[in-house]
């Protein structure tokens, strides 16, 4: 039985109070805003599922773990113009774990970069939405990715360039915890930290799994937050299904003036849908069994109901 795992978590007023200070006006506004973000998260999650289910297979686990992050980015933090994806003054998003394309595509479709009908063409012959990100093909995709480990350097270059141009834009980097196995990530982190590129907000999606299983069994990452601190980053660690905590961490990072910044997302591979969270091999999920199809259908139903409630 599928179940919307994130639903019950942190929608109490307490959580809002805790994470958003105590000024009354602010709380009320934020509560509305948070509801808006929760709605967007639910829509993105629903579309990720529909998109991958229609395709028949896809990188479900790592797409679902960044849903709330993308909701906060595209629902609140980012500067972009969906009608003018190439707008020069936009903030940039470098989704370095490019196999999570379906998550980004769903976010982009939900905020109007292209129609949702595109989502049902994932990986089809001639599609504009390939499994791995392609900046040449998809409006709103700022950088091609799929060969893991390259995105952090790209983000570093963009951030350095913004500084040279004295532009107040941000670049948001999203890297996988497995992806951090790649040495190039650490070359980039050195550079970002050394140059105090505080306009690059680096997210590490710590969903604790990579392709062959648990990260601790493949290549133990030990304490990622401590590693980033040792590299010279200001760090924040937040629950990845908590929009307000993510938002607050971003605000905090934006106020850091003198160092590189990193937010570690304590996430679950398959996040937000219990059946897929519990599935051990959930990196690439195939919808070729009755059980998986039913789980997806149940989750689609529940997410649709949640969306109706939030709307």
């Amino acid at each position: 039985m599928a179940d919307i795992a994130g639903l019950a978590r942190n929608n109490s007023a307490d959580a809002v109070m805790m994470t958003n200070g105590n000024e009354e006006d602010e709380i009320i506004m934020n509560e509305k805003e948070i509801k808006k973000l929760k709605l967007l998260s639910a829509k993105i999650r629903l579309d990720v599922l529909k998109c991958i289910k229609k395709c028949g297979y896809g990188h479900l686990g790592g797409s679902l773990s960044i849903v709330e992050l993308l909701s906060v980015l595209y629902g609140k933090q980012l500067r972009y113009d969906a009608k003018n994806p190439q707008w020069k003054e936009r903030d940039f998003v470098i989704l370095s774990k490019g196999h999570a394309g379906p998550a980004l595509y769903s976010a982009l479709a939900n905020v109007g970069f292209f129609g949702k009908d595109w989502l049902l063409t994932l990986n089809e012959n001639g599609t504009k939405l390939p499994s791995h990100l392609d900046r040449v093909k998809t409006p709103g995709v700022d950088m091609t990715a799929g060969s893991l480990g390259q995105g952090a350097s790209i983000a570093a270059g963009i951030a350095a360039g913004f500084k040279l141009k004295k532009n107040a834009q941000f670049v948001y980097l999203i890297a996988g915890d497995g992806e951090l196995n790649e040495g190039q990530c650490w070359e980039a982190f050195q550079f970002i930290a050394h140059n105090k590129l505080n306009n690059c907000i680096a997210f590490i999606d710590e969903n604790k799994k990579q392709l062959d299983g648990w990260t601790k069994d493949v290549i133990n990452p030990y304490d990622i937050e401590k590693k980033m601190q040792a590299f010279g980053f200001f760090t924040k660690k937040v629950k990845a299904d908590d929009e307000s905590a993510i938002d607050e961490a971003i605000e905090k990072c934006k106020s850091v003036k003198d160092s590189a910044v990193c937010i570690i997302l304590d996430s679950i591979k398959g996040q937000g849908i219990k059946y897929f969270e519990d599935m051990m091999d959930n990196h690439s999920v195939k919808f070729n069994t009755a059980e998986n199809i039913k789980a997806a259908d149940d989750a689609i139903e529940e997410l649709s109901a949640l969306i109706t409630r939030l709307e």
Binding site: N125, D134, G178, N181, E182, G183, V218
Partner: protein
């Protein structure tokens, strides 16, 4: 010696040819060791981890490190086999292969999976039309494109007896059967699969089967095509090429790779240096990047089907 067995249609997955050959090697040679880069469940090498846990290393998503670790293991006498998708054991690790491996005279055996159009759903970032071109520039590297399951098993098993950089590319999925179980090959020697007198068709890898099909349909149209499986692209069997072009009207090379730097280029070099004066048509990927789609679609999209061969051969008649 080899024999053909094209009737056998219960082809097994190519990755299992690799897995079973490595497992066989491990039974008789404790120096053989397998290294993966977080694709053990994609390559089937997780099975090697099960059968030979102390001869399996998963380095994580760190291909350059994998090549370096393999070189270190080689230095103290191990025989490393490494796997990743084709781009990640070619483009991505070229300097490590070149310096830590080849230049330092270490031994690394490489299985590059899902080359060319066989990339399918992984799309443009994962497409390699240039892996052979890159490896060809490495002095003394041995480069193979496996035509079927039987040949793949033979290649892997025979890599283990050699010292140096040995590279083989192939689909992970099942492909058409060409050879009879137990067939033997020789590195540096092409295999004549079908005799003919009008056109010489030289293919490699998965396209050997399409080449044979093309030759058969051309035969029906009155064009006699000789087909060579040039599974070993380096060292290239120059003698065989120079011998078999005699009295042919044209030569066609046919590869799941860029026409720049691969089999077609290698053949062109032989022909040019020997002033053969026989036209060569290179059928391969024409200076393009990859994209996503089904393997069948991509094979068509990049002009790598048997009908392209047939059409070209027919066009020569006019």
């Amino acid at each position: 010696m080899f024999e053909l067995d094209r009737e056998n249609t219960d082809a097994s997955e190519m990755r299992m040819a690799v897995v079973s050959a490595i497992q066989d090697l491990m039974k008789i040679n404790d120096k053989v060791i397998a290294l993966e880069a977080d694709l053990g469940s994609a390559s089937g090498w997780a099975k090697i981890k099960k059968s030979n846990p102390d001869r399996f290393i998963n380095v994580g998503i760190a291909e350059a490190n994998m090549v370096g670790v393999a070189a270190g293991l080689s230095l103290i006498g191990f025989i490393p086999f490494i796997h990743s998708f084709a781009p990640f054991v070619s483009r991505r690790v070229f300097d490590q292969i070149f310096i830590s491996g080849a230049y330092s005279q270490n031994t690394i055996n490489i299985y590059a999976s899902d080359p060319g159009f066989t990339v399918a759903a992984n799309g443009g970032t994962h497409t390699t039309f240039e892996d052979i071109a890159l490896y060809r520039t490495i002095p003394d590297a041995l480069i193979c494109d496996a035509a079927d399951f039987v040949q793949m098993r033979w290649i892997i098993k025979n890599f283990a007896d050699l010292k140096g950089i040995h590279f083989v590319r192939a689909n992970r999925k099942p492909i058409a059967n060409i050879y009879k179980e137990g067939s033997e090959f020789e590195f540096g020697k092409g295999n004549i699969l079908k005799k003919g007198h009008d056109i010489l068709l030289i293919a490699a890898g998965q396209l050997v089967s399409d080449a044979l099909n093309a030759a058969e349909s051309l035969e029906k149209k009155g064009i006699s095509v000789e087909v060579i499986d040039m599974f070993c692209i380096k060292p290239l069997d120059k003698d065989l090429i120079l011998k078999e072009i005699k009295d042919k009207r044209a030569i066609i090379s046919f590869e799941n790779h860029s026409i720049i730097g691969g089999l077609g280029s290698a053949i062109a070099e032989v022909l040019a240096e020997n002033a053969c004066g026989i036209p060569l048509k290179r059928i391969g990927v024409n200076d393009r990047f990859g994209q996503v789609g089904t393997a069948d679609f991509l094979q068509k999209e990049f002009g790598l089907t048997q009908s392209v061969v047939v059409d070209f051969a027919l066009s020569l008649q006019n």
